[in-house]
Symmetry: C2
Subunit: 194 residues, 2 copies
């Protein structure tokens, strides 16, 4: 059989540029947050802006490509939780923590993720959908054992995580608000074990 429909093999220079841009963008977004200047990324990568935009037509596309690696890692984490966490509420909690870490990967990341939730054309949209589906899985399991409020949905919890991550983005290093808000959120959806 052939290599499959998904990888028509790239020209060498294209592939080289693409991965180099991603490296540079990774570093740049880590320093400046996801709303830093794209032209600067191109300059730092030693390519023209045209090249950057040909590879990643929008900022969201670039972010999506960067998140791809972490995406796989996140779903590994999900599998681990599913495998060795018998307590359904605790499992859901751990999954939400994982999601939180994911959406805190870069400064300002929650914003495009939130937007993507309501624009199906965004390259981040399907990513978000997957997160919601996974969340829904953990949530339903917890609800079946009466360990989560039955009036919440996966979508709501995902938005809650995003909102918490959004707040953290501006929180001072010594401020405990992010932790408190996570606790409020958790106390809100969870039903304590009997």
């Amino acid at each position: 059989m052939t290599a499959g429909t998904s990888a028509p093999r790239m020209r060498a220079d294209k592939e080289r540029n693409r991965s180099h841009i991603l490296e540079v963008a990774q570093e740049f977004f880590s320093e400046e947050g996801v709303s830093g200047s794209l032209d600067t990324i191109a300059k730092r990568a030693g390519v023209g802006p045209g090249t950057l935009y040909r590879h990643f037509p929008t900022r969201e596309a670039l972010i999506a490509a960067l998140l791809q690696a972490r995406y796989d890692e996140l779903f590994d984490r999900r599998d681990v939780i599913e495998r060795d966490e018998p307590d359904t509420a605790r499992a859901l909690e751990r999954w939400l923590e994982a999601l939180y870490d994911y959406s805190t990967a870069f400064d300002g990341l929650p914003e495009p993720l939130r937007v993507a939730l309501f624009e199906e054309s965004s390259p981040l949209a399907t990513t978000c959908e997957n997160f919601i589906t996974a969340t829904e899985g953990f949530l339903v399991a917890a609800q079946r054992e009466n360990r989560a409020q039955e009036w919440v949905r996966g979508r709501d919890l995902f938005l809650g995580v995003l909102a918490t991550a959004w707040v953290s983005g501006a929180v001072l290093a010594d401020d405990s608000s992010a932790a408190v808000l996570q606790a409020v959120h958790k106390t809100g959806w969870m039903i304590p074990a009997t």
Copy 2:
């Protein structure tokens, strides 16, 4: 005695321009959200950009001026709640609803408010501080009667409200997520009456 230090009386044209800019900005921000183009506001108001920036040196200053009117209204609401709501938890809840309405006044308003919380130089900063103080008042009263978790602070609840408002900013009209998140938040900080 003289008119006092606070109002050195403005030149007629200055006063006229200032209030006209505010009218236009009010309408424009209502349509486009608080991150719309300032130059466009100047154009619509029939003044040069210089005039707009002389009156309101930053976007935050303009927003702050616009919020001033609603600010008074909000604190009236606080007084009403304080006067005729004997249930301390319900009083806090109503106050948080008022804050939520306030921070939903314009599209995108939660963002500058959040930023202002961590930049004391912002003209919105003192506004935020007042909100937190007021929230703290309701919260402490509720905590004294064991109707609110003792590990939350006014600042946390304010941030929680902002976060909820932030989510609502992108929510589809028929989506109930905003309401659910508010409920999660409430369930999180509140302790049911015995």
